[in-house]
Symmetry: D2
Subunit: 282 residues, 4 copies
């Protein structure tokens, strides 16, 4: 599927600073970047870093001068996802997890799974399969947490969202991840460009490790699960921030967009309770 994605960011730089952006579409076996450009005005040299085991592409900008800096990114991306019926998939116990999966069982800054152990097990412990547990988690979040801009901030964590019951995509994802990990289901944060997200913006959701696949889930239900272009995965938003700022810099504008540009018509996929199809991006 072909998508055209774009981002525009603008920063007011008050002193020489370093910016690390995480807005590039990721290159993976299943996601090809057909065309891509990054325009910085005024021009500064960009260094691309492949950090965290290839889970993201950082662009590091060393900005020597003060003033407004404008960043425009555009890419034409071709990716595909797999849909797998998880109704009869054999579950993998922790004794068989690949070592690379283990870090995603650990609690992290915004996903304090160690503090949600009882809640997760009391609420979802009796559900038969891991797939259904994760589905029930997203369902529970969707029902209990209101999507509300401006209610939370960059310090808000899953532990807060359980009680405060409002937030944005980032908060929905963190809570989903924390609950999965508390059930010994590895889970990781996923950021991307999202088709049909309204209003257009960067999006965050999460992947759970089920039957050997990283299956995508989104408790916000705001987008079709097959309309994503992956930017990064990580333990939580601490690993996959759109921008990390080192210096006296203020963001004055941020915008992201995603168009579907394939010939084949787009057939949106949303999970429903009766079907056990899971969407996986590689």
């Amino acid at each position: 599927m072909k998508f055209k994605v774009s981002a525009e960011l603008e920063y007011d730089v008050k002193a020489p600073s370093t910016l690390i952006l995480n807005i590039h579409a990721l290159r993976t076996a299943h996601q090809t970047i057909l065309d891509e450009k990054l325009l910085i005005t005024p021009y500064v040299k960009i260094e691309e870093l492949n950090a965290m085991n290839g889970e993201n592409r950082f662009a590091r900008l060393d900005i020597p001068d003060t003033g407004l800096v404008s960043i425009k990114y555009e890419a034409l991306v071709d990716n595909y996802y797999e849909v797998k019926d998880h109704s009869n998939v054999e579950e993998i116990p922790v004794a068989k997890f690949d070592a690379s999966v283990l870090p995603y069982l650990n609690p992290s800054r915004y996903c304090q799974s160690d503090k949600l152990y009882r809640l997760a097990n009391n609420t979802f412990g009796n559900i038969r399969t891991s797939f259904e547990q994760v589905f029930a988690i997203t369902d529970w979040i969707y029902k209990n947490v209101e999507y509300l801009s401006g209610f939370t901030n960059s310090e808000t964590s899953a532990y807060d969202t359980v009680t405060q019951q409002a937030g944005v995509c980032r908060d929905f994802a963190h809570l989903g991840i924390a609950l999965c990990r508390a059930l010994t289901i590895p889970a990781r944060y996923f950021t991307g460009y999202a088709y049909q997200l309204n209003p257009p913006d960067f999006h965050a959701c999460f992947e759970a490790y089920l039957g050997g696949d990283w299956v995508l889930f989104d408790a916000t239900r705001l987008i079709p699960l097959n309309g994503l272009v992956k930017i990064a995965t990580g333990r939580d938003a601490a690993d996959a921030a759109i921008a990390s700022i080192f210096g006296d810099v203020y963001c004055t504008n941020i915008r992201a967009a995603c168009q579907y540009v394939d010939e084949a018509p787009f057939k949106p996929i949303y999970y429903t309770r009766s079907i056990f199809d899971g969407v996986t991006y590689l």
Copy 2:
């Protein structure tokens, strides 16, 4: 330097469970395992995992039967450390950090550097060099936090320790890491066997990334910095837990020891304010 290290753990297993231990001395360019044995009674197969980019060696035990399980580990280790004078080392700005170092700037479960930004910058921001900043951090922790067993628990984080002012080596390390990261100094958690630690136990301290080296610091001042055998590094204790338990299992005993068995006499190194020698283990 040769050390003989050992650990004994005992678990009461109430149901078939999986244990992931992180008690093996790490194999690195500068740390050789001359001899090593791990004895599980009753016998279960051990799988060794090299997880997290070689930062630790996990031993995974799949325990099929209930009852007491005893684990004994012994190793003869030869390692060496470097001492470097950091008084004239050129500081590396974030614009030049290797990509592998960047994750250690992020806040993590027990090291919420994002919430300590002001405290760190108000307290240590005016200190001239990064080395001296980290030294001042350990000094500040040593003076403000009392070493006290049983006061904290596995949920205690750097944010708590700032105010509660008591804890064990793990808490001292977390606070050191969080303060470093808040100053844009990458920092990571370090666990090891420690010579001259009294009473003998596993030990935790931290490394700060200074001038291109991971320099060891220990705010507890309980041990000489050159008496360590590295087990693991990680973002915080979530990554480097001595044991991660999956199942109905209770720890009934835990013990660690470290003997110096080299011919050359041991000359303990402690940092002092006037000298800028930093100890680095690879």
Copy 3:
């Protein structure tokens, strides 16, 4: 109804100290102390304080010497409670609350109702009457929170218990109070001696202000609601601690008991969903 209540406390006093005990049965219009004694060994003068608008009786002990101090309290109490059918009680809006009731709408140390606003309103907001809301709150707590000794400590608050889902009577009461206040139902902490509590101990529950009465609720369901001898009410456990210690003093023993000594047989009252009878102590 006549009850014989008793308490035994023992303290190890390491330095001259002051103790404020809150173990006396309260004297109210509906609770008469027929007989009472407080024995301190070795003897120290006791000062009785009627603090906080008569909501409790403090006994202040100024202990000049070190060593073990033993405190024995015994009382024969005659009290009565009212049972009122709340199915047709007119609700009192906040515009009509008596001024003395208003403090019990405020968040307090262990009952952060301001942080539970959404949770309370999402979960209980659509329930028809305040009485039924409070009943549903106790029901919800009973189902979601496990009664578990040793899991929580003196710092645990309602905000924690929402997520951690385990605790003792004190935690159950705090969560009930916080949820009521978040729904604009005044609520206060209640401590007392409890008949048929097993094992015998001091007990905590809470009162909600409904239709002009302070109606007793207990989310633990451990005791009949008509088997209580009131010690104190307050905003939360901070106001009604069994003992407040000022100095270097350690509690070495604490015990409480409550016997029913009336001639009439004791007919236990527990709330059930279909009946709207509320128990009120004055």
Copy 4:
């Protein structure tokens, strides 16, 4: 001293609601209201409540209609304060505190003194007198906490401010109170109109109970301590909120002012380290 104080508040009322305002100058033995008016547009009946043992005057407004509601308060106040040299005042131990003072030793919603015990005692425990301890507390807060609007919110507590090191008068007061209580010095929240506060606003500071007097302290150092007109005291901001809103109401404007209208010239009092004069309002 005569002051003319005024407040203007405006609310957008979306549904019939109740407002409880706490903006009236308090009537006390030492503070006389010479002239006072409260104007509500459109007119609604005002009920005045003397709540919390006379520590504040609530004005309760039952607003039946939607739309903008404007509230204007003006008062001419004559009050006086006492200045007492505390350098030789006999300290009152907890064993002698009046019962009415004891609640101000308890932790409260925004002043978790139980969690600051070590910090308070480590930092201020060795200071000779209680007066000097409180002075040192305000000094420490002034040095460590930056006055910064918009950084904190209504959930921010003393526990946060210790680490986050920024806030407004409310946060400075809460931290002062919490540290006092942790040292067994009763302390309470004080709100008032403040002369020479720039920009004009309601102000919050705190009182510590020293030698039998409630002595005023203000860690912000923004105003002379003798330029205050008391509105309320309480355990913390939960007790003395300018406005408590019950219903769907939004504040659209809030303003407060304080003029000195006495004939005698105003001689500002600020505490300095070498003098032990304490200011007390009754």
